[in-house]
């Protein structure tokens, strides 16, 4: 290479290197904030079904207050979760965001100083804000005194809606086998009896997204509460009661019985909830185990679907039937936000009755504001009325090891496919539990 060419080439390489370095450094640094005349806040969420309603509310809020609210949607929820975690590490969380997953993760966000403590705001004016929200929805965002997570007690999030998970029944299909649709099965025995008739008519019994294994956990937990009561379930999580206890085996045995009685739709172990929703909406299954969000989903799939919601039929009358429920989606305020007060003001506004009624109507969901239960469809009212029976792992104050939860849920799949007995499963889960407890010590 001639000297001149070499110099040109070197100059070119150096320029390229400088440009690359500049771009890299610029992208690593904090984003340059454009000075805006209009005050604004940024919200990250994952709720693709609520995007339009949120944008409409953002428009209304800007008109009322002059504050611009930028909703940014990141879906699906797994991708959203990773985005929030990555943003936390780089200090680029928005003013308002949501945290998905178990309470231990929420606690980790709080302990790391990413979440603003809303207790003072909630308690202001004799608890005006706090008192208008459903206590069970708020409890999901609350850390009590001496909680096992080591988080300073307080309220760290605002529920914007409420959900619970129940059984749905198809009134037309029940009628077709001679069952009374206004009186759906209330006990386990009733359910098995109705299923026999449905089976004889070639109708699927129960559909649910048990391929997404957390829903198995949900139903099993409902029955665990019904069979042994809350205290014993929590004692098991604390490691004081073994999973090999006869009551737990009774819980696992229900899944064996469901399998043997042909109650479960075929393919349920790998079925995603969307498929289960399609089967139920198309009158191909008599029962579904699903959350209150399904009202909006079924409306989209089959507006003429004739169905109702009920508590899972109880096995024992020793303890009440308990379902999972509480805050559906919650928003948290970023401690490091420059607009903490604007963010809090917006959350107060969005949980006010007019906005909650609007959200409920648009998304067919349950409002978090207890004074907004107006003009709701019948089935949604049924979901709302079951809130008294609702509980949620996030309010139990203790949480099970992820490895145990996985062994529990996957193990129930093994019972359904006939590869494990309830006793074997109980022993397997207990072995995982003991291993995890030993690791912790």
């Amino acid at each position: 290479m001639r000297g001149k060419d070499r110099k040109v080439c070197l100059f070119f390489m150096l320029s390229l290197f400088t440009v690359f370095l500049s771009i890299f450094l610029a992208s690593c640094g904090p984003q340059a904030q454009k000075k805006e005349q209009v005050k604004s806040i940024k919200i990250w969420h994952w709720m693709s079904d609520r995007e339009e309603a949120f944008l409409e509310l953002a428009g209304r809020y800007e008109k009322e207050t002059g504050v611009r609210v930028n909703f940014e949607l990141y879906a699906p929820s797994d991708a959203y979760t990773q985005k929030v975690r990555a943003a936390a590490q780089t200090n680029t969380l928005p003013d308002i965001f949501g945290i998905l997953g178990e309470k231990r993760y929420f606690a980790s966000f709080v302990k790391s100083g990413y979440v603003y403590d809303l207790t003072e705001e909630m308690d202001r004016d004799l608890g005006a804000w706090k008192n208008k929200l459903f206590a069970k929805a708020l409890a999901v965002n609350e850390f009590e005194q001496e909680n096992s997570f080591g988080v300073k007690p307080g309220i760290y999030g605002v529920p914007i809606d409420v959900t619970n998970i129940q059984m749905l029944y198809n009134k037309d299909l029940l009628r077709s086998v001679g069952a009374d649709p206004s009186n759906p099965p209330k006990t386990w025995k009733d359910l098995i009896e109705v299923n026999k008739k449905l089976k004889a008519n070639g109708v699927h019994g129960l559909v649910s997204g048990w391929g997404e294994i957390w829903m198995i956990d949900c139903l099993a937990s409902n029955y665990a509460f019904n069979i042994m009561g809350k205290d014993k379930v929590l004692a098991t999580i604390r490691g004081e009661v073994s999973y090999t206890d006869p009551d737990w085996i009774k819980v696992f045995d229900l899944f064996r019985e469901m399998r043997d009685e042909g109650l479960l739709a075929s393919g349920i172990v790998t079925m995603v909830n969307k498929t289960a929703e399609q089967l139920f909406a198309n009158n191909r299954a008599a029962f579904a185990f699903n959350g209150s969000w399904c009202v909006n989903v079924y409306k989209g799939m089959n507006p003429n679907l004739n169905y109702g919601a009920m508590l899972p039929p109880q096995v024992s009358d020793k303890y009440p039937m308990t379902i999972w429920g509480g805050a559906g989606s919650s928003f948290m305020v970023n401690t490091k936000s420059k607009e903490v007060q604007l963010a809090v003001d917006f959350l107060k506004w969005i949980t006010d009755a007019p906005q909650q009624i609007f959200l409920s109507k648009e998304t067919q969901g349950l409002p978090s504001n207890k004074y907004s239960l107006k003009d709701m469809p019948m089935v949604l009212s049924q979901f709302a009325s079951a809130m008294d029976n609702a509980t949620h792992p996030n309010v139990w104050g203790v949480s099970e090891f992820p490895a145990v939860i996985e062994a529990f849920n996957k193990g129930i799949q093994y019972i359904i496919i006939g590869e494990k007995t309830p006793e074997q499963l109980a022993a397997d889960i207990q072995a995982v539990k003991e291993r995890e407890m030993a690791k912790k010590q």
């Binding site: 080439c9 390489m13 790391s112 393919g267 790998t270 992820p402 799949q413 496919i417």
Partner: protein
């Protein structure tokens, strides 16, 4: 002058070194560091506080589900190495001849690899569906009702069903590479064999096969590396279920990282998986060298 030239030379390679360091060496270093820690991906990362030594690796060696997932990926790989590549070679041999509409066949055979894995997974999930799937419908129509099953929920059929779709989706790559390899073999080599009265099989065995050894090696290494890392199809078809019957290493890594928030353990799984792949590739290369010499 010499120092200046040396400096200039280093400057030339600096951008490449920088890119390689930032996007390869640093992430690998981070993954290795994390694999020695217990971290949930949320709290501020503090190496000294999170350091747990080799605990993740010790736990990993005892993790039966992890090794089961590796075996299952190995099973799919074995099927891909044999049936998928045999199919690809057979079709490449057929298309290597002067047949009518050869280009159309090439396009058709290359279609599955360019389709999105998620779409392929969901379409086949529908075909395999135990309730309303096409496969069961056809089986019933041709009088094979006894074979009707829940293909993806049945532990006896789930993994093989996924493996078949992986082969269907992947044979196009092998087909194209084999075809390219076949077309580099000079036609003149076949002429003397033909004159000597060699059969098609003899020509294949004595001419095609030895010359295709480097291509076989390439295809087999790509097949092993590609198949062991299969996961999109699994996620869209079975989610790893029923139970752990279709779990593969990447779905386990995902479960550790996203499901359990055990970033350190997930990183140790990643390193272990990388080591397994490296070992398999090393054995393959050694074997292929031996084959070449033979």
């Amino acid at each position: 002058m010499r120092t200046k030239t040396t400096l200039q030379n280093y400057l030339f390679v600096l951008p490449a070194v920088l890119i390689f360091s930032i996007f390869y060496i640093y992430p690998f270093y981070k993954v290795f560091t994390l694999s020695l820690c217990q971290w949930d991906g949320i709290a501020r990362f503090d190496f000294a506080k999170n350091f747990i030594g080799l605990s993740n690796f010790i736990e990993l060696f005892q993790d039966k589900i992890w090794w089961g997932a590796i075996l299952q990926a190995g099973y799919i790989t074995l099927i891909a190495l044999t049936f998928q590549n045999a199919l690809a070679l057979g079709l490449a041999l057929a298309c290597d001849r002067d047949i009518k509409g050869g280009n159309i066949y090439r396009v058709i055979f290359y279609l599955p690899p360019v389709l999105s894995e998620v779409v392929v997974g969901l379409v086949w999930k529908w075909i395999y569906d135990g309730n309303y799937g096409l496969l069961n419908y056809w089986l019933q129509n041709i009088g094979l009702s006894n074979l009707v099953t829940d293909w993806l929920s049945n532990p006896k059929t789930a993994l093989i069903c996924v493996a078949i779709i992986h082969c269907w989706k992947g044979f196009g790559w092998g087909f194209i590479i084999f075809l390219a390899g076949l077309q580099t073999i000079p036609r003149q080599l076949y002429e003397p064999a033909k004159v000597d009265g060699a059969s098609s099989w003899q020509m294949f065995k004595s001419v095609t096969l030895p010359l295709m050894v480097p291509v076989f090696i390439l295809v087999s290494i790509l097949t092993v590396l590609g198949t062991m890392q299969v996961f999109v199809l699994i996620l869209s078809m079975t989610g790893g279920g029923p139970g752990y019957h279709t779990e593969v290493p990447v779905t386990r890594i995902l479960a550790s990282m996203v499901g359990s928030s055990r970033f350190g353990y997930a990183c140790s799984q990643g390193i272990m998986f990388g080591a397994v792949l490296l070992a398999v590739s090393f054995v393959q290369i050694k074997l292929s060298k031996y084959m070449k010499q033979a």
